[in-house]
């Protein structure tokens, strides 16, 4: 009887220790498209391949609808201590670690806020997509130097074949 109590106590302590070390494996938080809005642009975040999130060391989570919005936010919040950053694989929509991902930028790629950058888990599928879409492959390091222009800033002209309205 006594032994089993000891066992329970030990297990309890072990569980506590494990959970204390939980920070080592910060898990991504699921997107709730009904209530989640982008921390940068206020638009609601769809539960799709463009969603990204930042988890701070104090446990606060910020979600974004576009990788470009996330970069805007980190520029404006340099003093925040970031624990983990997640993006999603374009094909599988699974959460992947931002620093280990590959990216494709292309003017023809549509993203929620028109920054036109998408993320992939492995280099080969990113390369393949870049080739098919005429976009360019970017590593995580390349992305830090990327010029975040929105589609609207790229001579998006008003086309009207018959302007006599």
């Amino acid at each position: 009887m006594k032994q089993s109590l000891w066992k329970i106590a030990l297990i309890g302590i072990a569980v506590m220790l494990m959970s204390a070390c939980g920070n080592e494996s910060t898990e991504p938080v699921e997107i709730d498209s009904k209530t989640d809005t982008c921390a940068n642009c206020n638009m609601s975040v769809a539960d799709n391949q463009h969603a990204t999130e930042i988890i701070l060391t104090d446990g606060k989570t910020f979600v974004f609808d576009d990788i470009g919005c996330m970069f805007n936010w980190t520029d404006e919040n340099e003093n925040k201590e970031i624990e983990k950053t997640f993006v999603r694989d374009y094909h599988s929509k699974e959460w992947i670690e931002f620093e280990k991902s590959y990216f494709v930028y292309g003017e023809e790629i549509k993203t929620p806020m028109s920054y036109n950058v998408i993320s992939f888990e492995d280099q080969s599928s990113a390369e393949e997509f870049a080739e098919e879409s005429g976009g360019s492959l970017l590593s995580y390091e390349d992305l830090q130097k990327h010029d975040w222009k929105q589609h609207k800033e790229m001579n998006h002209k008003e086309t009207d074949s018959h302007s006599h309205s």
Binding site: T35, C41, N42, M43, S44, H151, K152, E158, D160, H162
Partner: protein
Amino acid sequence: MKRLRIFLVFVALLIIYEPSSFAESTLQQQIDQTPIGGTLIVKSGTYEDPVSINKPMTIKGTENTVLSYTGEGSFINISGEGVQISNIEIEATRLPIEESAIVLAGNYHKLNNLTIKSAGTGIKLDKANHVSVLESSFTGTSEGHAINLWESNYNTFGKNSIRNVQDGFYVEYSHHNTFKNNKIWDAHYGVHLMYSNSCLIEENESFNNFTGAMIMGAEDAMVRKNTFTENNENVNSQGLLLYDSRNVTVETNEIHNNRIGIFIEKANVNTVKDNRLQSNFVGIQFKESENNRIYQNDFLGNVNDAQAIESEGNQLDGNYWDASAKIDSDGDGISNLIYRADPYFLALTEEVPEYQLFFQAPGMTILQKMLKSTDEELLTDSGPLMDPIQSNNQNNQADLPVWIVSGLLYIGSLFLFIKGRKQR
């Protein structure tokens, strides 16, 4: 004799093998057989294959014509000019989210009196101009948009009723479009402008949505005479959101019972005038926005009238704030007391939204007085009005019965008084 027999057999074969397809030709064949400028009356039925129309012609239904589409790509693909479709119900319940029941390219098409039930988007305009969609109704599954515009200009959308969709109108890189007299409810966003300039949003009713209208990265929009009400289901709901937009005019709207009436973020040089903001949790809220002019609005019964964070140079003047103390010593209808909105509570709750629990707690009031916000942080109206600008119609209607009743009471009491005197 033999010849006759062969002839008879031949005739019999002809009768048996007569291509019955003519009576039941596919919809595409019927479209192809319709001459340019002609009219095709379609019949109810189930259609598996998409169709394309690329010449001027009219497609009509008779009473209760239902086209039930079982395919998985867009159903009706229109290009060229002058295609008209009216009087049809389209059910596309198997459509994937990213597909649309009707896709339009080209110019001068007219869609009238359609009923569209789509699991994806209802109508997509893809580089289409001068198109009108009128008096139609859209029901979705909250996943697709009712109407989606991409690089499409000078289009008109009027008198449509839209419900249970992602966005009523999702408008991207599309300019000079008019949205008038539409009714949108149970949607994510009623009207959603993205990088679209010079659009007119007028006399629409947008209610029970996540957000009534969202104006993002748009310039020169006019938002006039709409009602944005009951957009409050969600912690991030608002009646109207201006984000990263310039030269937008918001005038004469009724903005009631929303979580935030008007939210202006990273948006400069916009005008908000002659609106009534009533019974919202926050009437108007600014964040990182400058040089906006807010005047002649009525703020009635909002929990917080106005809040501003990191926003300077916004000009508020001549609004009516029902909650503020007012003194008018010279009788010019303008209060001598400057109205000030302190962002303290909002600044506190922004970091930790749960602090909203302490709203109007006594301790909070003391803290707010102790930790006074600097003058730059305050939103001030230097000439707040003594009386609301817009007379409340409902009140006027209520006035007449009140007068009648009080008149009757007065006459009644006078009668009793005289009668009582006579009896003495």
